[in-house]
Symmetry: C2
Subunit: 508 residues, 2 copies
C-alpha cells in the first residue's frame, strides 16, 4: 500500500485546510493563504478548500462547515485544529473519502497525550487514511505547490524594515525529511542561502503513521529526488529502515544527521520527542552496512548533499589536488589523509605531461608537480584548465580537488575560470570539487558559477575534501554491491535530463 | 633587541618602495600606489618614497635612483626587485640607516637558492637591519596604513563587472601571521566577509630573519592585538616558540592552524616551503603545554578567534543551552559532550526559577527546563531574555549557548532580541555564544547584531559549541597557571576601552 498512498501528500488533486482561520497570525490562516496563492500562481494544480464552521468567507473564499460539505474532489487534508477535535475531523475525512492528512496540531504524545494520538491513528487506520504528523510543520513541495509551512514568510522589524524570515529553497533534486520542525525550517533557510534546490520537504513530527522508513522508500522511487537527507532523533523501526535504505542507496544517496549521539544528547532528545533514542554505535554500524552516509552536523549534511547531487561517486580513494596556493594544497592533503583518502605522488603519464608543460615554459618554473600540483602564485586560468584536464585523464587519481584561490593576478576572471573547469569536468565520470576561500564578490561569484555549472564548491579546503570523501565512501559502497556501473549510468542520464534546472537553481 | 626593532614594520616614520614600478600590474607599482593613497587619506602618517633608477616620476611622484638619495627620514623599506639585486639594495639601506625591510621578492630558498637568502640575511645582520620575508606579501596594518599586499584590489570580469578581489578587513583586534602568502590573502578575504577586525597581518614568507616566535612576542605586547592567529607549515625554533607562547598566552589567546599534519601533508609542505615539518604529535603536545589553542581548519581558526576576542574564558566546563528548537538543542548537547564539555541537568535555583515561570504561564506549558532549556516553538523574545538571565546568574553553568532560531512567530524582531541578549551578557564575566541557522535576511541580521554587540554568533550549533569549547579550554589553562583572574581583569578593561570600535567593525 505504501508508495501510491503517499502520493496525495506531494501531488494532490484537491486540498482542504481543516481549521482555516481568519486570524492572520494563526497557522490555519497562513497555510490557507499560501495554498490559495500557489493555486492562483498556477503552481498548485489542485483546488483549495477551507473548513471552518464559524465562518462563511475567509480571504474572499467561501469556506465550508465540514469537509463533508465540499462539492469537489479532495484527496489531501491539512488539519490545524485543537488536538481534542482531531479524531472527529479524521472521521469526517473518512466520510468524504479523503485518504491523506497532514496533522499540524500539537498536543499529542509529545506532551504525554499518547492516548489521544493512538485514538487518532486508529481512527485513520480504520478509514484507510494516511497521516503525516501530528505536531509537525508538514510538507513543502516546490514542484507541486504544496506548502504547509506556517511560519511568517517575512517579518517587519521595529525599525520598519521588512525582512525575509522563512524563505523556501527553489525547485531542485534534494529531499529533506526532518523529525524536528524547527531544525527543518532552519535547514530550509540554510538550503535557500546555499542555493541547493529542493524536491520535497517533510516534517514528520510524532510519526503517528508515516515515518522515515516509508518516506525513504517513496522518495527512492521519486523521479525528482536525487539525494535524500534526513534529520532524525530516533528510528523506531530500525530493521525496516536498514532494509529499505539498503535498497534505496543502490539508486540514490541517503545522508542522515542523527542527533542524540551522546547520553546527554539522548536525554535531551528523549525529553523533546518522548521516544527513546538507541545507542549510537548500533546506528553507526547499521548505517554503514546499508550504504547510508552519516553527517555530523548541518553544515556537513548540506555540503555532502551538494557533492552527491552534482557529482558521480569516485571509483577509488586517490585524490589529485591542483592549487595556486601551496598552503591550501597542504591543508587539503592533510585532511584527505586524515579521512583515509590517498594523495599519491604522480609518477606516470600525468607527471610527464605536467613536467613537459613546465619545461616548455607554459607552467611556472617552480611549479610543484608531484601532487598537490602547485601552480604557485604565478598560476593563470589556462594553467588551471590544463592541469585539471591532465588529472581528469590520468588513471593515477580517482577524484580531483581544484583549489582556485581567485586572488592571484593570473586569474583575471574567476567566473570564466569556474565555467571552463566545470565544462571540462562534465565530460568525465570522475568527481571534481572546487574551493575558493573568502567572501569578496570575486570569491562568491566564482563559487556560484562552479555550483551552477555542476561542480560543487566550498569556502575552505576542509569542507571540499570532506565532501569529496563522501563521494569516495559512496563509490566504495556501490562497488562492494556491484552497483557502481548501473548507478553511474542512471546518474548521468538524470544529469543530462535535468541540467537546465540544475543550472537555474544556482544562478538565481 | 626584539620588540623595538619590529616597530617600523607596523608604524614607520618613513617608507620607501625599492623597485617602485611604472607598470600597473607589477607588485612594485601596486604597493607604491596603495601606500601613496593611504598617505593621502591621512591613514598612513609616514611619508612615502619610491626608488627606481630608470624613472624620474611615477604616479606623479618624484622617485629616486637609490635610497641614499632620499632627503627625509625613512625607517622601513619595501623591496620589490629581482632576487639577485636584493643584497645590493640591503647594503644601500645600511648606508641610509634604514633598519627594517620587507622583502617581497621571490627567488630564494623556496626555489633552492638558499645561498642567495643567506647572503641577504648576513648583509642585513651586519647593518642591524631586520627583515620580513623574502618571498612574502608583507604587512597590512589597518591602524597605521602600512599595506604591501600587491594583489589586485578589484578585477574587471569579461562581462564588464568590476568586482572586489582582495578586500582588506577593517581595523580591529585580531592579528594574523601567515607562512603562506596565498593562505594569508585568502584568510583576509574570509575575515573581511566574517566582519572580523584586524590589528596586523604579517606574511612571513621564508623567514630569513623575523619569524613567528618574534612576532608572537611583539604582538603579545601590542595594545591593539587581543588575539593572535597563526597559519604555519613549520616552526624552526620550536623551543623558543613554546617559551614565548607560554608567556603570551597568559595575557592573550594564541590560536595556531598548523598544516602538514600527515606524512603526505608534510611532503606537500616540504616541497612548498623547502623546510622539514616535524612530527605532528610533538607539536600537539607542545601547543597544549604552552596554552596555544589549535585549530584544524580555516573555519575553526576564525570561529575561535571571534569567540576569544569577544568573550571571556569560561571558569568551568558546564554549559547551559537555551533554544526554541528542540532538535537544535539536542545537536548542541551532543557536540558539547563529544568535546568533553558537560551539559548538566539543572537542579538548584535556576531550575526553580525556570519552573516558576512555567507555572505562572510565562513560559509555555510544555517547555523543557532541565538543560537544554527548550522554550519550544512558542518561545518569545521575552522568554529568551529571561532564560538567559537565569542561566547567567546560576552557579550551575559556566557558559551559555543561546540557540535563537529566528523563524518562530514569537520573535517579531530578531535584531532586537540579539541586542537585548547581548546587553544582558555584557554584564557578566561568563561567556555567551549565539546561534541562528539560515541565510535569510532575518538570520543574517540577527547574527550580525550579536557580533556587533560582542556576542559571537554562528550559523550552526556545532560551530558555536566548538568555539565555546575553545573558551573552556583556554579558561582551564589559565586557571591551571593561576592566571585567570588577572586575565579577566585585563580582558574586561580592554573591552570597555574598545567597545565602540568593536561595534563598528561588525555593523559596517
Amino acid at each position: 500500500m505504501t508508495s501510491e498512498s503517499l502520493k496525495p501528500f506531494f501531488d494532490p488533486r484537491g486540498v482542504v485546510v481543516v481549521g482555516a482561520s481568519r486570524e492572520e497570525e494563526k497557522p490555519g490562516h497562513v497555510i490557507f493563504r499560501v495554498l490559495l496563492e500557489n493555486r492562483k500562481k498556477g503552481l498548485l494544480k489542485a483546488p483549495v478548500y477551507g473548513v471552518n464552521p464559524k465562518a462563511d468567507y475567509i480571504l474572499g473564499e467561501k469556506v465550508f462547515p465540514s469537509v463533508k460539505d465540499i462539492p469537489g474532489e479532495v484527496d489531501l487534508a491539512v488539519i490545524v485544529i485543537p488536538a481534542e477535535h482531531v479524531k472527529r475531523a479524521i472521521e469526517d475525512l473518512g466520510v468524504k473519502g479523503i485518504k491523506a492528512a497532514i496533522i499540524i496540531s500539537a498536543g499529542f504524545s509529545e506532551i504525554g497525550r499518547s492516548d489521544l494520538e493512538r485514538e487518532v491513528a486508529e481512527t485513520a487506520k480504520k478509514h484507510g487514511i494516511r497521516i503525516i504528523g501530528p505536531n509537525c510543520i508538514g510538507v513543502y513541495s516546490p514542484w507541486s505547490g504544496v506548502d504547509t509551512i506556517f511560519l511568517p514568510y517575512t517579518k517587519v522589524l521595529e525599525d520598519g524594515r521588512e525582512v525575509l524570515n522563512a524563505p523556501r529553497p527553489s525547485k531542485g533534486f534534494v529531499a529533506l525529511i526532518s523529525q524536528s520542525g524547527a531544525v527543518g525550517t532552519a535547514a530550509l533557510d540554510y538550503m535557500y542561502g546555499e542555493g541547493i534546490g529542493l524536491s520535497h520537504f517533510v516534517s514528520i513530527g510524532n510519526k503517528a503513521d508515516v515515518d522515515e522508513v516509508e518516506l525513504v522508500e517513496y522518495l527512492g522511487g521519486d523521479d525528482r529526488t536525487r539525494v535524500i537527507l534526513l534529520y532524525l532523533e530516533n528510528i523506531k523501526r530500525g530493521r525496516e529502515f536498514i532494509e529499505v535504505a539498503g535498497k534505496v542507496t543502490l539508486k540514490k544517496p541517503v545522508v542522515v544527521l542523527k542527533a542524540g549521539r551522546t547520553s546527554a544528547g539522548r536525554r535531551a532528545a528523549a525529553s523533546h520527542t518522548a521516544a527513546l533514542a538507541g545507542v549510537d554505535e548500533v546506528y553507526d554500524a547499521a548505517f554503514r552496512r546499508s550504504g547510508v552516509i552519516r553527517a555530523n552536523d548541518i553544515e556537513e549534511l548540506f555540503d555532502y548533499a551538494k557533492a552527491l547531487a552534482m557529482q558521480p561517486p569516485a571509483r577509488g580513494e586517490r585524490i589529485g589536488i591542483i592549487t595556486d596556493g601551496g598552503g591550501a594544497g597542504v591543508m587539503a592533503t592533510d585532511i584527505a589523509e586524515m579521512l583515509g583518502l590517498k594523495v599519491p605522488e604522480l609518477q606516470g603519464n600525468a607527471r610527464r605531461e605536467l613536467e613537459e608543460l613546465r619545461e616548455r615554459g607554459i607552467f611556472p618554473r617552480y611549479a610543484q608537480l608531484s601532487n598537490p600540483v602547485d601552480l604557485t602564485g604565478s598560476a593563470t586560468s589556462e594553467m588551471f584548465v590544463e592541469a585539471t584536464r591532465i588529472l581528469l585523464e590520468s588513471d593515477e587519481v580517482d577524484a580531483v580537488v581544484v583549489l582556485a584561490l581567485h586572488q592571484v593576478p593570473g586569474i583575471p576572471d574567476p567566473v570564466k575560470l569556474a565555467r571552463e573547469i566545470s565544462r571540462l569536468a562534465a565530460g568525465y565520470a570522475k568527481p571534481v570539487v572546487a574551493v575558493d576561500t573568502g567572501w569578496s564578490e570575486a570569491a562568491i561569484l566564482e563559487r556560484k558559477e562552479f555550483d551552477s555549472m555542476g561542480v560543487p564548491s566550498y569556502p575552505t579546503p576542509e569542507r571540499a575534501v570532506k565532501s569529496l570523501s563522501a563521494l569516495v565512501r559512496y563509490g566504495k559502497y556501490l562497488s562492494s554491491r556491484g552497483a557502481l556501473g548501473r548507478y553511474l549510468q542512471e546518474y548521468l542520464d538524470f544529469k543530462r535530463k535535468n541540467i537546465l534546472q540544475m543550472h537555474k537553481n544556482n544562478s538565481t
